[in-house]
Assembly symmetry: C2
Homo-oligomer: 318 residues x 2
């Protein structure tokens, strides 16, 4: 089944320990769409400026992404610029944000988009996320939402309102804590689930994610890479793989969410291997599947059988 994503399409200028790239295709909706497209049809709603390159529209089309909701407006495309830490690629500083045409973004869904069974509300203002959800003809089968520290700080109430209406919340683990004002992650995730979402994905950068779903917690590792080029878009590519898996299988069981998290981690790992979409946009199914198996091996060991015991020294502590 198909996925609708509403978010940003941008040109990013990034500096990482591996190099610099100027005005490279980026934006949450872009990363998500291309990543998810390997698994399910994706329809994108976003706004771009007059400077948006035809080749970048083609890239999305080549991945079967429905770009009928890509609104081209007078003005320039959204620009973001950031720099990543040399010591810790999980930290970044935003150098500059030029909203341009994104400043007046007011997403409008087509009749067909209003029927989408899977909806991803990428990281935009919570009020816009709400307006999208309210345009849906009926409640989608699954609604997922991403946000960030900015909205937690300046739009906490609006963010709370939309969080109460979604099924899956993607946040960095620090954001899970600040959003709920709880320092313990398990407690914080439970507090979010008490608000409504069945599922919380606490992202931990290159340490993987913790997936809270119902009573269960699942730890999906990140794939250890010997070369990280640019972490931009890793979270959105993760979400693309995650939602792509669920939309492709329709399996919303606890097991389905675990496999979705593993698929998301695979797609996030490819995203950081290049600037922009160079790697993510040129994958083969075989490459994706091989990495899925390698990621699975990372946590595989021979578990204790039911009748087996750990090698305790004696009964002294029994």
């Amino acid at each position: 089944m198909s996925i609708l994503v509403v978010g940003s399409v941008a040109y990013d200028t990034v500096k990482t320990p591996a190099g610099t790239r100027e005005d490279a295709l980026g934006g949450s909706a872009t990363f998500f769409s291309v990543s998810g497209s390997y698994f399910a049809p994706v329809s994108v709603v976003a706004v771009v400026g007059e400077d948006f390159k035809d080749g970048d529209v083609e890239l999305l089309k080549d991945h079967g992404v429905d770009v009928s909701g890509l609104d081209r407006r007078p003005g320039k495309t959204f620009r973001w610029s950031g720099v990543y830490g040399a010591e810790d690629v999980n930290t970044r500083d935003t150098l500059d944000t030029q909203l341009n045409v994104f400043a007046d973004f007011a997403p409008e869904l087509s009749p067909e988009q209003r029927k989408s069974p899977y909806l991803f509300l990428a990281n935009i203002a919570p009020e816009l996320q709400m307006s999208v959800l309210e345009q849906m003809d009926e409640r989608p089968k699954l609604v997922a939402l991403d946000s960030m520290a900015l909205w937690i700080d300046i739009s906490h109430e609006a963010l709370e309102r939309i969080v109460r209406k979604v099924d899956v919340l993607f946040l960095d683990e620090t954001e899970v804590r600040t959003f709920t004002k709880r320092s313990n992650l398990v407690e914080a995730a439970r507090a979010i689930m008490a608000m409504g979402p069945s599922t919380v994905v606490a992202k931990r950068g290159d340490h993987g994610v913790l997936l809270f779903h119902g009573d269960s917690i699942f730890s999906a590792p990140a794939f250890p890479l010997d070369r990280v080029i640019d972490p931009t878009g890793a979270g959105d590519s993760f979400a693309g793989g995650f939602m792509g898996y669920l939309a492709a299988t329709g399996d919303l069981s606890a097991e389905g969410f675990k496999l979705a998290a593993m698929t998301g981690s695979v797609m996030g790992s490819f995203q950081v291997e290049s600037f922009s979409l160079e790697r993510t946009a040129s994958l083969t199914n075989d490459e994706i599947e091989a990495r899925f198996r390698a990621l699975s091996d990372l946590t595989k060991f021979t578990p204790l059988e039911d009748n087996e015991s750990l090698p305790f020294r004696g009964a002294a502590h029994a």
Copy 2:
């Protein structure tokens, strides 16, 4: 088989978001010994002052720890004082260190200790670690070493010399990077393995560990706790469970190391649930085994069968 540990026995004063504890039993050798004692006989070599409490000696004895190498000297026991971040329990600041009798610590092994098949060189000066290794009658079956940023900074050469002689290196992932001057963790771990160790355990606080062993990488998660009281000693308790598993089974295969990492993670998770050794010293085998199974469940999912494929959208990208 038995484990010899050489390290510190201390009285710690810690402040965490959960509270404060003054002059509580601590020290790397203490945490390691009690944790490891659930799996294998442990013999400790350390120095304490005249103020060291008989009850604390008894606690070690009650866990079957051989304390014949616990040297009582004139003066006061080593004191450490630290405070943990309210936002992130993985960060801590040392407030005060009083070496006291530890300043002149010159470990001397008994004839029996020189024959120990498993040796853990806890976090002390690399020169002392070397002097211990040189006292061994024959090369132990397995030598593991822990260190910290201080020695990387002020005794880099001495640390390198001893690292070249051990089998297993435990370090925080940041320390793995700074020790090797490589920002990529996979590269950094490989650089250490090229120096000699077969195994590198990169510790990631409450995100678990990455175990590098030969060509394989294993991700052991941390057990998500809804209440963390005091992270002090988590790394040493991890090492105790890790070495305890290996000494109890003698299984030094890749699979053995994975199970050792899981056992270590279990013991580390108990350590942070209380101040000092309150929790770690009062565990039952049943509690340990139950948590081992719960930790195993954390990464368990239905893997792809050999003849199975991920749910790709189509052959477009194949």
